[in-house]
């Protein structure tokens, strides 16, 4: 591990929002590491806290949010940084690519101006020629011709705008790139192009990539490792072929079963609704919807174990045996989740 220290190391990160009903525990104790050149996929349902995690890592949270834990980047804790240090970090240190590209560029500024502003903010000595050279270079890598450098955002399609956003992030040569659902708003063909570009990141820039998505197909194609998130916590993590080939956590298994492919004959879905982040279920947060729930599951919070090297999972099905009380392994009895309860 010391031979190849992680580019980004998150330890027990919590991000809570205060609301009138109580604190929303969007991220509730997340730890993960990403090595340079590695792509880590972060999957989960809508509302499980993925986007908050992505933003929390660079401190881009609204005023009422509180954070705890540690985010180590280049031996410094991002959560403890001053405003100025954060600004210096964002961009050249850690870059963030957003979800909907249509509205992420200033409509009154040319693409050229976007690049000039970004580069000059972080590299004060840079001159105009250098700005132009580097911008055109990275845009060319995205397939955007130099003739369009002086155009306005509205003259580009959604896919091209996303490519411009990626270029804008990459021109600063960040060590870590966080991509928050970069292809959700785009059609499949454009999605494939973007994924290809992101795959090149590894090769050309040696950047670490945190790919946040709800699409398991993308993860299978583009990621080295995958972390599955549920109710603000990582419930399973490991290398993609292992996790997808032999999922350890019931949630992961159900997610994989829900994927529609050519062989699908019937719709499979996970019953129940996403958990309330203000008052999450007791014990294991997935227990109300888990087909394999046991008696111990609502009683005690599962302990993280490592069923195989390089994998971790948080589920009583994998022990540790000593901590499960007698009779805890019996199946959990519960009433049908009535329609009314879900509403």
């Amino acid at each position: 591990m010391s031979l190849n220290p992680p580019a980004l190391s998150v330890s027990d990160l919590r991000v809570w929002y205060g609301t009138t009903r109580g604190p929303v525990r969007a991220v509730d104790g997340v730890s993960l590491d990403i090595k340079p050149g590695e792509t880590l996929g972060l999957v989960g349902e809508s509302g499980c806290g993925k986007s908050t995690l992505g933003r929390g890592i660079i401190g881009l949270l609204p005023d009422g949010a509180a954070t705890a834990g540690e985010v180590l980047f280049e031996d410094e804790d991002v959560l403890r940084m001053s405003r100025r240090e954060l600004r210096r970090l964002r961009g050249p240190g850690i870059g963030l690519i957003f979800q909907e590209p249509m509205t992420r560029l200033n409509p009154l500024m040319r693409i050229e101006d976007h690049f000039a502003e970004t580069l000059k903010t972080h590299e004060k000595e840079i001159d105009d020629d250098e700005v132009r050279k580097r911008s055109l270079e990275v845009l060319a890598g995205m397939g955007i011709p130099p003739t369009r450098f002086r155009q306005y955002p509205h003259e580009f399609s959604g896919g091209m705008r996303q490519r411009i956003m990626i270029a804008l992030a990459l021109v600063l040569r960040p060590k870590v790139v966080i991509a928050d659902e970069p292809t959700t708003a785009l059609d499949v063909i454009v999605e494939a192009q973007i994924l290809g570009i992101l795959a090149d990141l590894k090769r050309n820039f040696d950047a670490a990539l945190l790919l946040i998505t709800h699409n398991l197909g993308i993860v299978a194609e583009a990621c080295d490792r995958v972390a599955v998130m549920y109710a603000g916590r990582i419930v399973e993590e490991g290398r993609v072929p292992e996790v997808f080939g032999d999922p350890a956590h019931p949630y992961t298994r159900e997610l994989l079963r829900s994927i529609i492919s050519l062989g699908t004959t019937g719709l499979h879905y996970i019953p129940g609704a996403p958990p309330d982040l203000i008052e999450p279920p007791t014990g294991c947060r997935f227990h109300p919807r888990c087909p394999d729930a046991m008696r111990v599951c609502p009683e005690r919070f599962p302990v993280q174990v490592s069923p195989a090297p390089g994998r971790r999972v948080e589920c009583w099905l994998h022990g540790p045996e000593e901590l499960i009380p007698g009779g805890g392994k019996a199946p959990l009895e519960r009433e049908e989740i009535a329609i009314a309860d879900e509403a």
Binding site: I58, F98, E100, T103, T121, M165
Partner: protein
């Protein structure tokens, strides 16, 4: 769908073409309004003073005995050539009257607009940036209260305080009688004329007369602008590209000034320009309050005298100004915001 930005020229021509129907509609409206009153303008204005034969002669001369449709097209023709006729009550050529008094109104409204824009943008930007802080609350309240104060009430207070009690400023007219008599007025914009003549004493006198009316009108209009600017700043600051800019490590100052403020002001420019109509309404009140010899006070005077020819001329002119202003604003907007050109 990506589209190419059309040239400014194409846009201008297109907008001009579209403005014509609105202008025609306005003219028709004016024409109809002036004919709605019973009888004809000549009798209405001079009925008691002239004999029937003389009235008939005048009527024929002015064309009021012809069918309505004919009168309509004559009216349109007159507008096209710029001939608005002669006033009934005091026999002035209407065009000349418009030029002379129009300049007075122009001077008043231009300075008032300047004040309104400065007040509106200055306070609105700050209020929006520091939302929900005391600065914001005071700014908003100021905007609301100042707009709630009728122009003539502010004028009354101003005349009382600055005119009577403090004695600093004159309370009526554009300039003192001496200056009015002596100053050569080629453009009829007194400030310009004084500058041309190099007459500093006259300029000072003129400015003293201009301060109260222009500030009163400007403040009240500025009150609306504050609200406008503030709302736009708030909406802009919530924009996605603002968050994206912050994620790229831009300083808060950069984000606020270069992205938020600039983008917030673009729609505001349009609306401010369209408020020019509001300014004209306010000008009428201001002129009455301060005895400012502009088109507004002339309108009231001619209306009281039932001088429909003069009234028609003035209102037609106002319609022209409004359409012209709206075109100008559209043009500026297209120049500033590249998305608008189609």
């Amino acid at each position: 769908m990506p589209k190419q930005t059309t040239s400014l020229r194409t846009y201008a021509l297109t907008r001009l073409a579209l403005a014509v129907p609105m202008f025609l509609l306005l003219l028709t409206l004016v024409f109809l309004l002036m004919r709605v009153a019973p009888g004809d303008p000549i009798s209405a204005a001079l009925g008691g003073r002239l004999s029937q034969e003389e009235l008939q002669i005048r009527r024929e001369a002015a064309g009021y005995d012809r069918p309505l449709i004919v009168q309509y097209f004559e009216y349109l023709g007159d507008v096209a050539t710029g001939d608005f006729g002669t006033t009934i009550s005091d026999n002035r050529p209407v065009t000349g009257m418009i030029v002379q008094n129009g300049a007075a109104t122009l001077e008043l409204t231009m300075v008032a607009m300047l004040i309104a824009v400065l007040v509106g943008i200055g306070i609105g930007l700050v209020a929006g940036r520091y939302r929900d802080t005391p600065v914001d609350v005071v700014g908003r309240l100021f905007g609301i209260v100042i707009y709630a104060a009728p122009i003539f009430f502010l004028g009354f207070l101003a005349q009382l305080v600055f005119g009577k009690w403090l004695g600093w400023l004159p309370t009526s007219g554009r300039a003192s009688p001496v200056v009015t008599f002596e100053l050569n007025t080629p453009t009829n914009l007194f400030i310009v004329d004084a500058l041309i003549a190099g007459d500093w004493a006259a300029l000072s006198d003129i400015l003293k007369h201009l301060v109260m009316p222009a500030t009163t009108l400007g403040l009240v209009t500025g009150g609306i602008f504050i609200r406008l600017v503030r709302v736009n700043v708030l909406q802009t600051l919530q924009g996605d590209y603002i968050e994206a800019a912050r994620a790229r490590g831009l300083s808060e100052r950069s984000v606020v000034f270069r992205h938020a403020f600039k983008n917030a002001l673009v729609p505001v420019i349009t609306v401010m320009g369209l408020q020019f109509a509001l300014l004209l309404s306010g000008a009428v009140l201001t002129e009455q309050t301060f005895n400012w010899p502009g088109l507004g006070s002339e309108l009231i005077r001619y209306l009281d005298n039932r001088d429909y020819i003069a009234v028609q001329g003035i209102i037609t002119f106002f319609a022209l100004v409004v359409v012209g202003m709206s075109l100008l604003i559209d043009f500026v907007n297209a120049w500033v915001d590249p998305r608008v050109r189609y």
